[in-house]
């Protein structure tokens, strides 16, 4: 067979597919996939509307013409597809960035959509509809590559349901059936969901390859009037950060942590709004800023040398390679984090412990010597940037070995030692307390542990504290006053206690990792995940994170409150939309199945159902060749003669058989009474299993079921 003949053979039309359900389901899959691409911004609204309309019309046309092939139409469609490919390659070569998958995904979505549209006009056979289903999966994958929100789950669920309906109807059509089997649909849905969940649970989360350009994009990228200035959001994302005040704007989710100096005397009201999402190889504190200067009520950043600018610009990038902070050892393990900004906020570039490279779509970034990074533009909702961070976390043994007492601050230039042990006043009570607590602790690490333990044992966590009055010291009030506070008071107290011991420490603010969404493979960080913690200098390891808040118990905890808190936390971490959709689908499916079981087709079927139930409960086997009256007689034999519940199973069976096959039904009152009797009989048969085995007059005492495994005489006359 020549090549042309082989191609012709492969492209020969299959037998026409007559199943409307199969065609409708595959069309729906394609439509959902196109809509998913539109929802991810890969297709314009106009193209989406035109495509969906054309796909529906094309499938109707294909159905009408399914028995009559149109060679000229194939030619036109082939030319259209080739034109789409030409457009795609031209677009990619002119607009795409080598290695940047994001720059290809939009044109790819358009190409696949055009292919689906053209294909829709020539899907006469079952095989063609199968290709439509497979094509819709590809289109869904293109959309999924851009999806970061749980809302995409809605498209996945709907597409999956239509896919199952399509495949089931294909099978039904293959075997000449007409209606979609309800039970098979339920089993298929459950099976696919179970396998999918198992695969998600068993497979490791995907990690971005190192050979591609990491995603970065700007949305609402207004240039700042003062490039290195800190902004904290606002309508355009360009409002300058203001010192926090009880009456001031609370900005993103009510968090005041990025409003210039970190004021521990007041607190905003944190919400549960998702402020950004992070794809990362491992969870970490997402660092926004660190502070070196403590004034008794608030933290601020200062330059190393008075008069120097706090931030300096980086002009070579992207990617921007960041210098290591002073004293930070080079090398170590790194991790890639991609941040998807959901709410316009501060122009801070978040990162894990120490950022080393940043992919950010701008020509300039601003960095301070402590590693804080600011963008020169606003970071609107939809902005994306990627950071490579050093995430080396030393073990306790390593940290103990790194700082045998008294060597704090080793490898750190003296100017930094002074900077990170700065105190506004000597704190004699705090210092005495710190010395008392750490007495006998041989290493810095042990001292930190002792201080954390003391804080955990003597203070309580609560956000319900009154604002400090002017002149009051946060640390003194927390350690010697009401001993209640939240992360800012707790971490500040530990930092100050360490500084009184001469250990370099600083305050860090940012976010905890946030709940992990296994479907999106993203940490979904909410406003209430904002946090403050402590970073302590360890020679050879640099700044290490310590979170004393984690061990501080809640104020006035009660078991019920703690349980409720845990339950609420667990509930909050569950992605709601897909969960609700899946639960609703399951409940609906089960309800339909239950309703179908509950509503028998006729009175005779209802009575027969009760008789079959009675037989099953009585341990009787029911063969396919057994008549209903025979079964009734066997059920009656479960009881001693004359003791079966009246009127007896045989009577009921005769009545049901007359109704089913003879069309002779009792009057309504009798029907009701007999149905009740049949139900009673089925209930009464539950305890008759043992009796049934000995009294069964029809079924064979033992051995295989008749008609299936009964030995037969040899056959084969005339053959050896």
């Amino acid at each position: 067979m020549g090549l042309i003949q082989a191609v012709k053979q492969a492209n020969r039309d299959g037998p026409p597919e007559h199943s409307i359900l199969f065609r409708a389901a595959s069309t729906a899959c394609v439509v959902v996939a196109v809509a998913a691409c539109w929802a991810q911004g890969e297709l314009s609204g106009r193209l989406t509307a035109v495509s969906i309309t054309a796909i529906v019309i094309g499938n109707v046309f294909s159905y009408v013409r399914r028995g009559r092939s149109l060679p000229w139409l194939k030619l036109i469609l082939a030319v259209a597809v080739m034109a789409a490919f030409v457009w795609f390659f031209r677009t990619v070569t002119t607009q795409g960035t080598a290695g940047n998958i994001s720059s290809v995904e939009g044109p790819l979505a358009v190409l696949f959509t055009i292919i689906q549209v053209t294909h829709a006009f020539d899907v006469p056979s079952r095989r063609d509809l199968g290709f439509s289903l497979a094509g819709s999966a590809t289109l869904m994958a293109v959309a999924a590559a851009q999806a970061v929100s749980s809302n995409f789950g809605l498209y996945v669920v709907v597409w999956t349901l239509f896919g199952i309906i399509g495949l089931l109807s294909m099978w039904t059509s293959m075997v000449g059936g007409r209606a979609l089997p309800g039970r098979a649909f339920g089993v298929a849905v459950v099976s696919v969901v179970v396998v999918a969940v198992a695969v998600i649970a068993l497979l490791p989360a995907p990690h971005p390859s190192n050979t591609i350009v990491f995603p970065s994009a700007l949305a609402g990228d207004s240039q700042l009037s003062t490039p290195a200035a800190l902004v904290d959001g606002g309508p355009k994302g360009t409002d300058p950060a203001q010192p926090a005040s009880p009456t001031g704007p609370t900005r993103v989710g009510g968090f005041l942590g990025f409003a210039g100096p970190l004021n521990t005397a007041i607190r905003g009201s944190l919400g549960n709004q998702v402020v950004f999402r992070v794809r990362a190889g491992q969870p970490s504190f997402w660092v926004a800023e660190t502070y070196d200067n403590w004034n008794g009520q608030g933290w601020s950043q200062t330059a190393v040398h008075p008069g120097d600018p706090l931030f300096y610009g980086l002009d070579v990038g992207p990617p921007f390679s960041l210098p290591l902070p002073a004293g930070q050892p080079p090398g170590g393990r790194t991790d890639i984090q991609t941040f998807y900004i959901a709410v316009t906020g501060a122009n801070l570039i978040l990162h894990a412990t120490t950022a080393t490279q940043v992919w950010f779509p701008a020509s300039r970034l601003f960095v301070s010597d402590d590693g804080t990074i600011r963008a020169g533009t606003s970071l609107g909702s939809g902005s994306i940037y990627t950071v490579e961070s050093s995430v080396d976390v030393a073990t306790p043994a390593e940290l103990r070995a790194a700082t045998p007492n008294p060597l704090p601050g080793a490898n750190l230039p003296p100017v930094y030692v002074a900077r990170y042990t700065q105190l506004p006043h000597p704190y004699p009570r705090v210092a005495a307390l710190a010395r008392q607590i750490t007495a006998g602790q041989p290493t810095v690490y042990d001292k930190i542990g002792a201080l954390e333990n003391w804080i955990a044992g003597h203070t309580r966590y609560t956000t319900d504290i009154p604002p400090l009055s002017k002149g009051q010291d946060t640390v003194t009030e927390f350690l010697f006053g009401n001993r209640r506070g939240y992360c800012e008071q707790i971490s500040t107290s530990l930092t100050v206690m360490l500084r009184t011991l001469g250990i370099p420490a600083r305050e860090a603010s940012g976010y905890v990792p946030g709940p992990y969404n296994p479907l999106t493979d993203l940490y979904e960080v909410q406003a209430k995940d904002a946090h403050a913690w402590v970073q302590v200098w360890f020679p050879g390891y640099g700044w290490q994170n310590f979170d004393p808040t984690a061990t501080v118990p809640l104020a006035n905890p009660s078991p019920a409150a703690a349980l409720a808190h845990e339950a609420k936390g667990a509930f909050d971490r569950v992605p709601k939309v897909p969960l609700v959709i899946v639960l609703a689908a399951l409940v609906t499916g089960l309800a339909v199945l239950a309703a179908r079981r509950r509503i028998p087709g006729s009175w005779g079927e209802a009575v027969t159902g009760h008789l079959l139930r009675a037989a099953r409960r009585g341990g009787l086997s029911v063969g396919p060749d057994q008549s209903l009256p025979e079964l009734g007689a066997r059920i009656d034999a479960l009881w001693p003669p004359g003791q079966a519940p009246p009127p007896g199973a045989r009577f009921l069976a005769d009545a049901a058989e007359r109704a089913a096959y003879g069309g002779v039904e009792p009057d309504p009152a009798t029907k009701k009474a007999l149905l009740r009797a049949a139900r009673r009989l089925a209930r009464a048969a539950r305890g008759r299993r043992a009796a049934g085995r000995s009294a069964d007059p029809v079924s064979p005492p033992s051995g295989p079921e008749p008609g299936r495994t009964t030995p037969r005489p040899p056959v084969g006359a005339g053959r050896p």
Binding site: G163, L167, V195, I212, P704, R708
Partner: protein
């Protein structure tokens, strides 16, 4: 055909086997491999989640049919009592789920059972014999139709089907010609038949058939001419050789012979060897002869 089937196992082969699995399995592996590569390259969780759903489709589609085929039951609930080798025989088949049932022993066209529980299963027995069961390949691709899994079933028939041989050319050489041979007449009871006239004597005629008045009148030896009895039986003995093909041809010829003789209005006594021993009984029609020949086994001999 059932004659070669294991006699005591009309049950099932419990382990279905995939049919032409290479394509779907390779396709699945390639799809999932490509999908994993895309998921890992793009780093998108939704791609991986969608890939998990696709994996669910493919795994359920590839392995689900094994479960469906394993659980599927087929039963023959009715069928004819007789059949003829080389001609279709239809049975009523009941399945508990949609399946594709292909008769393989004897062979026949496949039946798909998606539109109801009862279907006609047609087989074409190639040989005569006593058909007590059918071998079928029961296959399912449920729930998605991506891959067929099949198991072999031996379906017991509700009653045996006696498959007659094809009607072959009659065996002329073996037929006796009673009226032309006096020796044959010697074996006929003298009281059989009625006188219808006088004819000349031929050697072999019985002495008491001589009609003396006519002899005297004609001057030659004359005998009474008797009517041939209408039910005068012709004995056909069928000796089947051990070779199945040869036996089949012999049976076909025997049926053709018997049918021809019966067509002449004469009775036939058919002598065959059955499992229970030699059977020598008259047959009243080709159908009955076919049944007898269906049950015949090799062996026996002249007047066994």
């Amino acid at each position: 055909m059932s004659r070669a089937a294991p006699a005591a196992d009309p049950g099932t082969d419990p382990f279905p086997r995939p049919l032409r699995a290479a394509g779907p399995v390779i396709g699945t592996l390639v799809t999932l491999g490509a999908w994993t590569a895309i998921a890992r390259t793009s780093g998108s969780g939704w791609v991986q989640a969608l890939g998990a759903v696709i994996a669910g489709f493919l795994l359920v589609g590839l392995l689900g049919p094994a479960w469906a085929a394993r659980r599927g039951h087929c039963t023959i609930v009715s069928g004819p009592a007789d059949g003829t080798a080389g001609r279709p025989v239809a049975f009523e088949l009941v399945t508990d789920r949609p399946m594709r049932v292909t008769p393989v022993g004897p062979a026949g066209p496949a039946v798909v059972t998606g539109d109801g529980p009862r279907h006609l299963l047609v087989v074409v027995p190639p040989y005569r014999g006593e058909l007590v069961s059918l071998e079928v390949e029961a296959a399912s691709a449920a729930p998605f139709g991506l891959l067929w899994w099949s198991k072999r079933l031996t379906l017991a028939l509700p009653r045996p089907v006696l498959v007659a041989p094809r009607r072959g050319d009659p065996d002329q050489a073996g037929q006796s010609d009673g009226p032309s041979r006096g020796d044959d007449a010697a074996r006929v009871d003298s009281r059989v038949g009625e006188s219808r006239g006088i004819r000349e004597y031929v050697p072999g005629d019985l002495r008491h058939w001589v009609h003396w008045p006519a002899t005297a009148h004609a001057g030659a030896l004359m005998v009474r001419e008797m009517e041939q009895p209408a039910d005068r039986p012709v004995t056909v003995e069928v000796v089947l050789p051990a070779d199945p093909e040869t036996a089949e041809r012999v049976a076909e010829r025997a049926l053709g012979t018997v049918a021809q003789i019966l067509g002449q209005g004469r009775q036939v006594i058919l002598v065959t060897e059955e499992r229970s021993g030699p059977v020598r009984q008259p047959v009243d029609g080709p159908a009955q002869a076919g049944r007898r020949l269906a049950k015949a086994v090799p062996g026996g001999g002249p007047w066994a």
